[in-house]
């Protein structure tokens, strides 16, 4: 996948596995100098507050290592449950599926500078 890491979570995780995923992923970003991480959670049937926090942590840590994170394929029931639980997954960018997620990552990589320019223009006015 070139500069991107593609992670597919195939099973429902318990806490230790989720923590292992977090550290493995961050180490892998560092090792391969990845610019984007795509996490496919379409096979995950529950995300509780712990797993939600892990996803948020991954996005923040990846950002510090100069990589963008996109989470794709969240099941509708999982999304509804997360919001009722009170978890808004702030800072986690989502896309509907892997293709859209890859498009989003590419767009973020190549247009990242443009966004900043737009912000600057606004502040000047």
């Amino acid at each position: 996948m070139g500069d991107f890491l593609l992670v597919t979570i195939q099973v429902d995780l318990y806490d230790q596995l989720a923590e292992n995923l977090e550290s493995d992923l961050i180490n892998t970003i560092n090792k391969h100098n990845s610019k984007g991480v795509l996490i496919d959670i379409s096979a995950v049937s529950i995300i509780d507050s712990f797993m939600g926090r892990i996803l948020g942590n991954i996005a923040v840590m990846a950002k510090i290592l100069d990589a963008q994170t996109v989470v794709v394929g969240m099941q509708p029931a999982v999304a509804i449950t997360l919001v009722e639980l009170g978890l808004s997954l702030n800072g986690v960018i989502s896309a509907l599926n892997v293709e859209k997620g890859m498009d989003l990552l590419r767009a973020k990589m190549y247009n990242g500078d443009n966004e900043e320019q737009i912000d600057d223009d606004n502040s000047d006015q």
Binding site: Y14, S49, F50, L85
Partner: protein, 146 residues
């Protein structure tokens, strides 16, 4: 001290199973068992997901704060609706201030503090009893159409 969210009515319970929770790995078979009960009650995917997520939150508390314990899972029927009841029993230190523990964003650990109040929102009935030095028992019910 106890906090209860429940519409009191006659409830019959059947097919009780008891699952011991001593380590984190025990959470996965418990979630699967609860899901089986939800499917058997005819719950939608959404209600199953809410029930399993609530179970996951409570079993984490049971391990983290209660030092492990046991979970009872039962089919319940109130004459109008079928559902699943799960009872989380630990012999841990108990919760010092239950009102505070039920507040969004409060945690003595390093979590987000969504566990108890968030769980309460996901289920139809929620009951918590705690006694210092004796333990905590949390009971939830998710109705099929709840």
């Amino acid at each position: 001290m106890a906090i209860t969210k429940n519409r009191s009515m006659m409830i019959t319970a059947t097919n009780k199973v008891e699952i011991a929770i001593v380590r984190e790995q025990d959470v996965v078979p418990l979630r699967n068992r609860v899901k089986d009960y939800g499917v058997k009650a005819g719950m939608s995917i959404l209600n199953q997901t809410k029930l399993i997520t609530a179970t996951s939150e409570l079993v984490r508390n049971l391990l983290k704060y209660g030092g492990g314990g046991k979970v009872l899972v039962e089919e319940v029927n109130n004459g109008r609706d079928k559902g699943v009841r799960a009872t989380f029993i630990d012999n841990g230190p108990g919760i010092a201030d239950i009102d505070l523990a039920m507040k969004d964003g409060y945690s003595t650990g390093k979590s987000l503090g969504l566990g108890l109040p968030g769980t309460k929102r996901l289920v139809n009935e929620f009951d918590i009893k705690t006694e210092m030095g004796v333990g905590t028992t949390v009971t939830i019910i998710k109705w099929k159409n709840g």
